[in-house]
């Protein structure tokens, strides 16, 4: 079975897996990283949202064979530095966003990618941007998610994650 090497949360990893095994299962079932959640398996609920080279992807739709040694995968576990919290996570706590918590890793990873994207376009997050977020929250915490993205986005401007794409 083929070996695949890529960077995961800042460190190189090598796994043995079929080329077409989706990254979600490499992370969860082979590497034991359970932050990205399964919600649909077809890239529509976005619960597994993580970053590939700084941009939001759904690992359920990325075959591990598509990754190379230079590709950087970031999951919720690697979003903040050692022991700290990313400004978006802090905003989430400040606004007590989560309910059951199942969608929250994906929501936060999508939010960070959105803020980076609009910052790269030199503009602020709009209601239309927020309307375009596809992450399902079955607890229906959407209004607090919107508030937290605006607050977390503001906080990102004054942080090391200045809202610029890293990849």
């Amino acid at each position: 079975m083929p070996e695949h090497t890529f960077r995961l949360n800042g460190e190189p990893v090598t796994v043995t897996a079929p080329d077409d095994l989706r990254l979600l299962w490499v992370l969860r079932d082979l590497l034991g990283l359970t932050g990205p959640k399964y919600g649909c398996g077809i890239a529509v609920c976005k619960a597994c949202t993580s970053h590939l080279n700084g941009r939001a992807v759904t690992p359920c739709s990325v075959p591990v064979g598509a990754l190379g040694p230079e590709d950087e995968v970031t999951t919720i576990e690697g979003l903040a530095g050692e022991g700290g919290l990313h400004p978006m996570q802090r905003a989430w706590l400040d606004l007590d966003v989560s309910q059951c918590g199942y969608c929250q890793p994906g929501q936060i990873m999508a939010a960070v990618a959105l803020v980076r994207r609009v910052a790269a376009e030199g503009r602020a997050v709009t209601d239309a941007d927020l309307d375009g977020i596809r992450n399902v929250c079955r607890c229906g915490a959407y209004p607090r998610v919107r508030e937290a993205i605006r607050a977390g986005g503001e906080a990102m401007r004054d942080s090391p994650d200045r809202g610029l794409p890293t990849g």
Binding site: M1, D29, Y38, A47, L52, A56, E77, L85, C137
Partner: protein, 782 residues
Amino acid sequence: MVGRKDAGRESVEPESVRRESGGLGRRGFLGYVLAAPVLVAGAELAPARAAGGDSAGNGAAGADLLLDLNSVMTAAALPTAHLITVEVGQDGVVSFALPRTEVGQGVTTSTAMLIAEELDVPLERVRVTLADARPELLFNQLTGGSNTTIATYLPIRVAAATARSRLLDAAAGVLGAPAAALVLSGGLVTAPSGRRVGIGELSARASADRTARVAVTLKPDKDFRVIDTPRTRVDALDAVTGRKRFTMDLDVPGAKPTMVCRPPTINGRVSTVDNLARVRAMPGVTDVAVVSTGVAVRAQTFGQCVDAVRALRVTWRPGPVGGRSEAAVLAELRAAEPPLGPAPPLTQTVEDVFTFHFRGNSALEPNCAIADVRADRAEVWSALKSPIVAKKEVAAKLGLPPSAVTVHVVEGGGSFGRKLFCDAALEAAEASRAFGNKPVKLMWHRADDCRQGRVHPMSTSRVRLSHLGPVVLGYAQRHSSVRTDFGHGLGELLTAMAARLPLGDAAFSQTFFHLSQAMPYEFGVTTRLLGEAEAGGGFNTGSMRGVYSPDVTCARELVVDRLARKLGQDPFRFRLGKLREERARAALLKAADVAGWGRSMPAGTAQGIALHAEYHSAVAVVAEIDCRPEVVGRRVRDAVTGPRVTRVVVAVDVGLAVNPSGLRAQLTGAASDGIALALTSSLHLRDGHFLEASWDDYAYTRQWNTPLEVQVVVLPGDGRPPGGAGELGVPAVMAAVACAYARATGTDPTVFPINHGVLSFTPKPTVPPVPASPDDGAARAE
């Protein structure tokens, strides 16, 4: 876990307890200290107590107060309240194994708050876990009916107060000062001399070598410093860092990913499998076996399970639903509708019948469970709201005594009614056994959850209001529903309590219907009856955040609006003039005031107002909707858009709000649910299967449907004990949105959700039963 122990407890004499508690005053209760090496305290609660002005005074429903479902559930839980205990560890951490399930509704946080308040320890020093299935708790381990806080508010406080009392007594000896002179705060006991000792150090000294009764007085409401203050969820940090563990995140040795290849029609059965050997030889696959629900596959990864499920060639026998479509079910519902009878003579009427389609009650976490079955025992992990029933059913399935089955309750990623049932736990146990007693981590694919999972029953509701001019003389509602499954323990509870109910031996569903429906308006003679259609007996049903209430309330409020219109009256003022209770009146007034009811709005937009009272709580909602063509036709990629609810104002009275932040979250979530039920969310039944197979098909509220403004106003509880809130908001929001839609469009909608007639997606195939995962994710990075 100490919460499981009851050894060493003295036998309880309910009569003497009742007698003794009569002299304790309205905040006085009896607790007990359990024989244990550290301090373990529980509550003794008599079944009946006199009412009082403090929130502790009238929390326990007496046998003479069994008027509604929550009183019944609370009364059923009381006799075993003494079996749930608070433990003070030698590290100063207070532990409590909650015999309920946390599925997002916030009960671990509110429970920790009750203990922190009564025991004067910091909230972060209270550790609330979920108790394993404990059959000795009888009816006191069922999470449903928005009953958790109602039923556990007093027992938990009494247990914590008992621990506090013992700690102070123990500290008196250590600090050389009378207990009455000591101050317990922040987990430390301080003497007038300034000497201090931590509760962890006191725990062993405060423990008992034989069980002892302790009379305690609860803290008066006016001294609350934790209860009734907004607190962030205790699991929030774990949730935002990805550390929160759900069932599929647990590392149980040897438990490998397992999925089931399911039939193309509801509850179909395997006839033959043509390629078992070939699928068994696929990469990563370890086991394949036929089970009662399909063909189970076990593999190294879930991705390989998906591949194996898709590769299986199975011949199926159809299920009991057969090839039915929803038109046939509708005809059965019409036939099952109880007769309305003639209208009173010489009166005018407003009457209509409303249709509510099937809805999916999937949480975002799919049905899942881990099972490790051995020849003589089994261990199961799952988010279960009725774990005692799960334990019995798993044991029966495996042919083991219930004592040989351990059921661990795991925090769930949402429930909405689904986790009252143990479908995945049963299936995991069966698969583990079928594979030759190998541990399994079994998960339903989302398509399974949509197509074979439980659904909120399709229903019709006929409402007739009889009136003479502005005087309403009668209200009649005939609700007809596909049979709702109550096999999750609530039925058992109602049976056990039947002798104390005024309804005789009516079926569970009838009993539940009558106990859960209240009429907030003074509408003269009121009759409500439930009819049930078996529809082949083949649907997997379950309630979704409210059993009958969302549909019943929506139908009622729409007809109330129609009568107001016929009489030329404003919908808000008409309701205000008919309300029976002051709480509902205050909620209605507050919602209308905050929303600016009656303000001028552009054509094609409107406000709607609605009211609901249940769970010892009351709620009023004003919704504003925009049905103008440019909004209805707005384009969002791959999205179901349509009319947009632009604003929701909720005024809620739950009595005492233990955690106002959690309460707001519940009502905000209810707004999302109510909008979905009124406008977009339903399942389409065609030829024996539901067309929806994932979140792109099933149009639950998404960001593009979310109101830009949601305001939740928490009304003062006026000393009433906590009511329920988990399901409370859904009926009122659904009804307010429906009423707003009717007013904005000048139509009288009768079919819900209103877009049910338009199929917004191309149905996915039913064979194979699950779709392949896309492989272009990297190209779609954003």
